[in-house]
């Protein structure tokens, strides 16, 4: 068993891949608690796709792809905040418009590049085993930034998520805090790009957090359990990918989904089976 675990670590690409997966798994899972509680899942998915034009432009300019993704994600996040501000249109409408527009722009740009096919599939589904050490450092740095923000701004983020009116009575800058959450979401998505890709990042944001939600009663506990589940899914997924030879991003997501299904069925109090066993006779 031990050997089974250690053998893959002999390869540098596996070491980097495991480390990257671990960072992404934990950061996504912790920030994902706000994504789940604030109902930002659609936003997260949209943001991930909206990154595409940034990557395409960076590619065309022969710049750093991650940097291109970062700029695009932050621009789109702030545009969504601007469009839905003051309730001119509903937020999900604003997201829908920008999501489709940015994705189209990305596809238009990419279709003008002949040699892009291989890299594109990596962007869509991740390529954790091809991660470079500079990308790993970037992911680590941004990951620490996101986790530190979630920790330091715990109270304001909790209050604007649970009770925006209280945030107003406390005279906290709710608009600023909301935009900050959007930027942190953008950062989280960018660092996930290399491991699970644009197509699957929403799952990393939502699935471990939703599992933890079913099993805990307080936000700090939910974040901690979510982080553990994210880390577990990432590592298990990567080993699965190594031994069964399947795409790593998909293996990670499927592991996380399996955990969710177990919690959905068996969670004490909220699980389906538990509720079925404890149902009260009909009145």
């Amino acid at each position: 068993m031990l050997e089974w675990l250690i053998t893959p670590l002999g390869y540098t690409f596996m070491q980097r891949g495991l480390l990257a997966s671990l960072i992404v798994g934990v950061v996504c899972a912790v920030f994902g608690c706000y994504v789940v509680l604030r109902g930002m899942a659609f936003l997260g998915d949209a943001l991930a796709h909206a990154i595409l034009p940034g990557i395409a432009i960076a590619y065309l300019l022969q710049g750093n792809l991650t940097l291109g993704a970062l700029v695009a994600a932050i621009v789109v996040a702030l545009l969504i905040g601007l469009f839905s501000r003051q309730g001119a249109i509903r937020e999900d409408t604003a997201i829908g418009i920008l999501f489709a527009a940015a994705l189209s722009l990305g596809v238009a740009l990419i279709s003008s590049i002949r040699t892009y096919a291989v890299d594109l599939s990596h962007i869509l589904f991740g390529n954790v085993l091809g991660i470079s050490s500079s990308d790993l450092w970037l992911a680590g740095g941004l990951g620490v930034l996101v986790l530190a923000s979630v920790f330091l701004l715990y109270k304001p983020f909790l209050v604007i998520s649970f009770d925006p009116v209280l945030a107003a009575t406390l005279r906290w800058r709710a608009e600023l805090l909301r935009n900050l959450l959007l930027i942190l979401l953008a950062l989280t998505i960018v660092i996930s790009l290399q491991t699970v890709g644009v197509g699957l990042v929403a799952s990393m944001l939502v699935t471990p957090a939703a599992t933890a939600y079913l099993l805990t009663r307080r936000l700090p506990a939910m974040m901690l359990l979510s982080a553990l589940l994210g880390a577990f899914s990432s590592l298990t997924g990567l080993y699965l990918s190594y031994y069964v030879n399947i795409a790593s991003g998909a293996a990670v997501v499927l592991t996380a989904t399996a955990c969710f299904l177990l919690a959905f069925l068996f969670a004490p109090g909220r699980g389906m089976i538990w509720q079925w066993l404890n149902r009260k006779p009909a009145k």
Binding site: A88, L166, T169, R217
Partner: protein, 259 residues
Amino acid sequence: MISQIEDRLYLENVSAGYNGQKALDELTFQVPHGGQVAVVGPNGAGKSTLFKVLVGLLPLRSGRILIHGLPLGEHKDCVAYVPQRSEVDWRFPVTVMDVVMMSRYKRQGWLGRPTRQDRQAVQRAMEQMGIAALADRPIGDLSGGQQQRVFLARALAQEPHILLMDEPFTGVDVATQEATLALLEQLKAQQVTVLVSTHDLNMAAQRFEQVLLLNRRLIAYGPPSEALTTDLIQQAFSGRVMFVDNIAVVDECCPPPGG
């Protein structure tokens, strides 16, 4: 008689609304130190809008609001707000204690730990509202009345000068109604200024010294005997039949309907 201290709450020509629709139109009134006012009006009359303007959640279109003679926002956390139960996400993973402690966040700062003083204020507020035994329970597990009392306790622990309660008598059990009314009595002794929105004309007439009758604009403001006349009520509610019972009940202090 001119009062020596500034009125605690002063509104002048206040208009506000959402997306081009005016929900409040040229509202002017003032509430003295420690006053308790029932804000009465039909659905969509602007009761919630008024409260959102007062906490600074909705910007003013025009007019001005003064608290202790200073513009809105000059005072930190002196206004507390008890939301309608329907506005709260009851599935959020927080306990009763967590919610009540939120009232002290401003004092603690973003990183500060609760002080002994904070803990005592929270404990006192929970005991007073009869929910101390539920401190570690998730809010989603509570009954409707208990949930309401959590938010009343939170408002208490905030130690506000002005307390806004949005429909605290709607959809709660009698025990919670009584607890709310007892709290109002106590707040009066502490000279906390209170605005309570309600549909319940009977409650407004019997339990409040001042009634503010609202339907986008100010219809009447004064003691129930003056503000809750049949004419004015019909003006505010534009003859909605669902309030017939209530009008009949408040007949005691009004001329009988139809003369």
